[in-house]
Symmetry: C2
Subunit: 229 residues, 2 copies
């Protein structure tokens, strides 16, 4: 790391998927102090949270926070409701799929904002992506801009002016294959990550998330150790 | 209720204090379907949540939701940390007091947004007040405007255009005595409410919240049954 201005402190919202794992590797280089925040919300399986835990250890975070929000009965989605089917295949071109969890990223970012303010962290990293993505409204650049504007008004640090808290989404404009390339260059341990919406022993290779991941590795000319293992 | 356009459905963020009780009475008149959402966050006492429960029953809500968020160790405030003292007396003119909970209203509104979207409710009511208030940044009109802008971008309903979800704060520009007058006119059962930051058997009459409440009743020429009981 070259000499320069003081590096900031920050927290990464870590789901355990390939995107947030890549963001964690990026944040590791950019921050002087690294925290992770993994939020459960009654999704179908704990594999994601286990993946997040392994990644946090791998990247030697200063503090790893896991919060389980008891909101599964409040938020309607096929990811939180066991009576609903998770669709197979790539999503239709238009429309928001049933795996959308209402206001999920708004809730996650709000908790990260309170955590960052409480611990004097200046940055929140989020692994959203608006290119090869699932069509969720809260993964778009305009959503992130609006959240940053809100964060400046919502917090003591924003009002009193000593260092606003900013949300960064370094993968926002990358394709899935570019994310794979970035992660390969940074040494992301893909075998520790988990992307499948279903929580089986192996990825199902049929849900939208698995298909996006598979295409990303293929287009990048890389090998996904989770599939070949 | 005079005939007119279909009345909307909505959810009230109900803390159990005098402000949210008054908002509940207002929403009861404006909505065709009324839900309440009471969120615990490890604050010092459960009296507030008990008050919320009594009020929800009194106003015959369709669904009463109580969520306890395990975030006390994440958010630093004298309201969530038992080792810190809750200050006595009115707050100093400037500055944000130690009872400020980082990003609390942002977190509450985010969860309400997910709930509203999941249940097709068009309105979220919040009892914040920017006149006789505690100096919290997330009680100001500019914060609410920014949240409404975010909500339109964050949700399916905002993006697909079939009815945006709006946050309303009907007390925003009222003084505490105007809130008392409004509540008296609407028959708010003040004895069911709880405002004190401390959780004793009776209000402490010394914390900022008790002093604000006392002045509000006095200036309105009304009697607070919680004090005279």
């Amino acid at each position: 790391m070259p000499p320069g201005p003081r590096r900031p402190k920050g927290v990464v919202l870590l789901s355990g998927g390939m995107d947030s794992a890549t963001v964690l590797a990026i944040a590791r280089r950019e921050l002087s102090e690294l925290h992770t925040l993994s939020i459960g919300y009654g999704q179908r399986h704990a594999r994601e949270l286990m993946a997040a835990h392994r990644l946090a250890r791998h990247f030697r975070v200063k503090r790893e926070v896991v919060v389980e929000l008891p909101v599964a009965s409040l938020l309607r989605s096929s990811l939180t409701d066991r009576s609903r089917r998770i669709p197979s295949g790539r999503r239709r071109r238009s429309g928001i799929p049933s795996t959308y969890v209402p206001a999920r990223n708004t809730i996650f970012l709000s908790i990260a904002l309170g955590y960052a303010e409480s611990h004097r962290l200046e940055r929140i990293y989020l692994g959203v992506n608006a290119v090869d993505y699932s069509g969720y409204p809260d993964c778009r650049p305009e959503f992130l801009r609006a959240f940053n504007r809100l964060a400046a008004l919502a917090t003591r640090s924003g009002v009193e002016g000593q260092g606003r808290i900013r949300v960064l989404a370094p993968l926002l404009r990358l394709s899935k294959s570019q994310i794979v390339q970035r992660g390969e260059a940074l040494g992301v341990p893909w075998a520790m990550t988990w992307s499948c919406y279903r929580g089986g022993r192996r990825p199902c290779a049929r849900c939208d998330s698995c298909l996006l991941r598979e295409a990303g590795f293929r287009d990048a000319g890389a090998v996904d150790p989770l599939v070949t293992m």
